[in-house]
């Protein structure tokens, strides 16, 4: 395992908002094809950490390393250019636009008319959006549907499709199943599993431990803005993870400490 470079690594990340410390010396790393679950209570710093990874906030201290190279993001665009995409909790889709327009929003392909006027190449965007959705095995009636006509699960799928449309290496998902009907949750989770087979790394923030245990390879808990515990999924269980969220060390961790002693 040591020979594989992590897709993304955060080392000693701290973030202060005025006098409030949201994160303190947090570390995180993500391997290719890995799904990492990040859990923690409200205010534990999950969202802040993700926003730092996605380029929305600069960290107060610490370093981001992408595939071995230190980077600094000054906007979400920088992060996207380096292959880090975020699927926001509120999805950040424009309901009045077509599916393909949402997938290509901010990165529309253009062609030139009269040799110099760039215009949006709607047909090429629609065709490529269609192909991309097919690759992800997402089925919609037509890419020319407006996003507001879609169900919650379909919207989530479009948000994920947008995140993966441009060679994303890391996809960060903030509560992707929170707003979904139960029968749609499984579809979105299967989609995440599918991404893993493409070598994409996924960071999943979720309050739903069912989701975490269904899809993740590893789970990491934050508590009061610090790394609290982490373990591969096979070496922990629901009750222990619930304990981490509430700030209690579980039996496994306790046992490890005993071993060290």
């Amino acid at each position: 395992m040591e020979t594989i470079t992590p897709l993304i690594e955060a080392r000693g990340i701290s973030k202060h908002f005025g006098a409030v410390t949201a994160l303190e010396e947090v570390n995180l790393s993500l391997m290719p094809g890995e799904v990492l679950g990040v859990v923690g209570d409200n205010g534990a710093g999950k969202s802040t950490l993700m926003k730092i990874l996605a380029g929305l906030y600069p960290p107060s201290q610490g370093q981001l390393i992408i595939q071995g190279q230190p980077v600094q993001f000054s906007s979400p665009k920088d992060a996207r250019d380096r292959g880090i995409e975020m699927v926001y909790q509120d999805l950040a889709l424009a309901g009045n636009l077509r599916i393909d327009e949402n997938i290509f929003l901010g990165r529309e392909q253009t062609r030139r008319v009269l040799g110099f006027i760039p215009i949006v190449h709607h047909r090429a965007n629609m065709r490529q959006a269609q192909e991309h959705l097919e690759r992800l095995r997402i089925h919609v009636k037509s890419v020319s549907q407006r996003v507001e006509e879609l169900s919650g699960g379909q919207r989530q799928a479009v948000a994920i499709a947008r995140a993966t449309a441009f060679d994303a290496k890391v996809i960060i998902m903030d509560e992707p199943t929170a707003a979904l009907a139960i029968k749609e949750v499984g579809k979105v989770l299967d989609l995440i599993k599918d991404l893993r087979t493409h070598g994409i790394g996924v960071i999943l923030i979720s309050h739903r431990l069912d989701d975490v245990f269904y899809v993740c390879d590893r789970v990491m808990a934050l508590f009061h803005g610090r790394n609290f515990a982490e373990a591969p999924l096979g070496r922990t269980d629901r009750n222990e993870v619930i304990g981490w969220i509430m700030g209690n060390r579980g039996q496994t961790a306790a046992a490890q400490e005993l071993d060290l002693n």
Partner: protein, 339 residues
């Protein structure tokens, strides 16, 4: 795995037919309204209504409001509002008249209204984005007063009449198409402006970003769109079109007068809303806005032909605005039952 996200197939057929009709009502409803009004007018005044003279008169009268509404539409697309367009129109018109009186040449007089309008608009945009005023209502309400005051300041509060013919051409002259067939030049200006803006909104990246900002500004921001810069451009464009509108009105009236366009922003907003654009942004088309301006013009025309007092016209336009927006509410309700 193969059948991952399929949902629409199991929505009820009847439901989906109604849902499918919505976009068409959405798009062509106001054109239907124009048609109904045209037929009604024809039945009421068969002798007069469809004469070239009356029709071109209607277009001449609506031209400046149609151009004003076009600018307002772009702003409303971003879920904004520009209350200053009436005053901007007056300032642009008066600046042209003042410079004309001072003896400036025709090319300068033709450019000035655009520059004045664009500058006012860009200031609106800067105020909105850089000062972070809570709502465009505030900035443009301030500008409504500032531009009106400036109009009076540069003119001393008195009208200036008499403009050179080339300056008047767009607002006042007719283009002969054949024997007895003339269209007002202002209609041509309107058609060109609508075509350019329509293509811009539909086919340029910035145009699509304007729709995206109206749909969900947060989505636009995280997609890497420079929302502030786009908004400044939008308000600048709106101001520039208000300047063009001022040029048309100056041509038609052969003057600049300080009370020009007083309250006209409300007619412009009415045209946009009647034309099917959503007040919440992201929805509407230039064709709809043109139809909206036409509805107001037709209503005024037929009520004039029927000798209905002007006060009743105002009441009726109010009724039309409320009815049309109520239809929009019904449409939204039908649309949301889908999800």
């Amino acid at each position: 795995m193969a059948e991952q996200i399929t949902e629409l197939s199991d929505t009820k057929r009847a439901e989906s037919l109604r849902v499918r009709l919505i976009p068409y009502i959405d798009r062509y409803g106001v054109l239907l309204l124009v048609l109904v009004m045209g037929i009604t007018s024809y039945i009421l005044e068969p002798e007069v209504f469809l004469t070239w003279r009356n029709v071109s008169n209607i277009f001449r009268q609506i031209a400046f409001n149609a151009v004003l509404a076009l600018g307002e539409f772009i702003v409303i697309l971003t879920a904004g509002i520009d209350l200053s367009v009436g005053s901007t129109l007056a300032l642009a018109m008066m600046a042209t008249a003042v410079l004309s009186k001072a003896g400036y040449s025709v090319p300068i007089l033709l450019i000035v209204p655009f520059i004045v309008g664009a500058v006012v608009g860009v200031i609106n945009g800067l105020g909105l984005t850089k000062l972070r005023l809570p709502h465009p209502f505030i900035m443009t309400l301030g500008m409504l007063n500032i531009a009106r005051g400036a109009t009076n300041l540069i003119s001393g509060g008195v009208p200036i009449s008499g403009l050179p013919d080339p300056v008047r051409w767009m607002g006042a002259s007719d283009i002969k198409l054949g024997e007895g067939i003339e269209i007002p030049a202002s209609l041509l200006v309107v058609v060109i402006a609508y075509t350019i803006i329509g293509l811009f909104l539909q086919y340029s990246r910035t145009g699509r970003h304007i729709y995206a900002i109206g749909g969900n500004p947060q989505a636009a921001r995280v997609s890497g769109i420079n929302v502030d810069r786009t908004l400044i451009l939008v308000y600048g464009l709106c101001g520039m079109l208000a300047g063009l509108s001022g040029l048309l009105l100056a041509g038609r009236t052969n003057s600049g007068f300080p009370n020009a366009g007083l309250g006209q922003e409300l007619d412009a907003i009415s045209a946009v809303i009647i034309g099917g654009a959503s007040f919440f942004g992201g929805r509407g088309s230039v064709l709809g806005v043109f139809a909206g301006a036409l509805v107001i013009g037709l209503l005024r025309n037929i009520l004039n032909l029927q000798n209905v007092p002007v006060f009743w016209q105002q009441v009726l336009i109010g009724v039309v605005i409320i009815s049309v927006v109520y239809l929009d509410v019904l449409r939204r309700r039908a649309g949301s039952s889908n999800s």
